[in-house]
Assembly symmetry: C2
Homo-oligomer: 136 residues x 2
DNA sequence: GTTTGACCTAGAGCGAAGTCTAGATTCTAC
DNA sequence: GTAGAATCTAGACTTCGCTCTAGGTCAAAC
């Protein structure tokens, strides 16, 4: 059940590079120390992959490595700090919602510009475009 | 009408630092060369501020400096390339929409985790939480 | 007229998040 | 049993987007 995976397997399963996986380990982003085979190669299991997939989501949504490290440390240090983990995740959720709102606001502005340019390209209207070289 | 603004005024109006404004100029992100006063100080006008405010939106929505530079170059080079500007803006708009979709997907996962932790903290359920230290 | 603060240029430095290199070792397939 | 692929460690290097420093000059207030 605890199938053992090489670093290459894990890279393939998570989309992270083998370099990144070694980097993550140095940064202590795993929930445990990754054990080594007789020959010194890293031996991962499915739980490591599952954790990395969550890490990917957190990273993609803008969580800095430093925060991920704090979260990993909380989980690693065992039961008792669930309220802290919850607070960290809630704070990140707030951040993501805020970022979506910010992007949505930008999108309105950008789409407005696109619309202006579309009109211009289609029928030569110039309102809202920048002049060749403004001022003197 | 062409009121003149100091670099400090523009920094205050745009939220950019004076360092950033000088950096933008070195990178040729303005629509024109910023003129200097007799004493060598930069003299901006309202159109520069307006442009920077759009730049801010583009940057906040994830446009890299390099792309902004290309856009500025297109605008600077005058009329005739509006279809290129339109394509650049459309491409960016696509990127922003994709990013919002990605964040929204992450949000679902994160909110799921938050929910699991909320249940755990409120009534001691442990499903979906990580064990203290997994495996041997 | 001097002090204080804003501004100048050129260029070095920084934090984030990996990526890449070198040189050695191990594992897999023939 | 050997060729070639994958992995190992340690540490240097890269890119992005500014930020900061040094060593001055300029401008506004008193």
């Amino acid at each position: 059940m605890a199938e053992s995976l090489s670093i290459g397997d894990v890279a393939a399963a998570t989309g992270l590079s083998v370099h990144a996986l070694r980097f993550f380990e140095r940064e202590r982003l795993f929930l445990r120390g990754i054990p080594r085979s007789a020959g010194g190669h890293r031996v991962y299991d499915a739980a490591d992959v599952e954790w990395l997939l969550l890490c990917n989501r957190l990273r993609e949504s803008g969580m800095p490595i430093a925060t991920l490290k704090r979260f990993a440390a909380l989980v690693r240090s065992g039961p008792g700090n669930e309220p802290d983990r919850l607070e960290l995740l809630r704070e990140h959720e707030r951040g993501v919602r805020a970022r979506i709102a910010e992007l949505t606001a930008c999108l309105e502005v950008i789409h407005g510009k696109v619309t202006v340019y579309e009109r211009h390209v289609e029928d030569g209207t110039a309102a809202g475009l920048w002049a060749p070289v403004p001022s003197s």
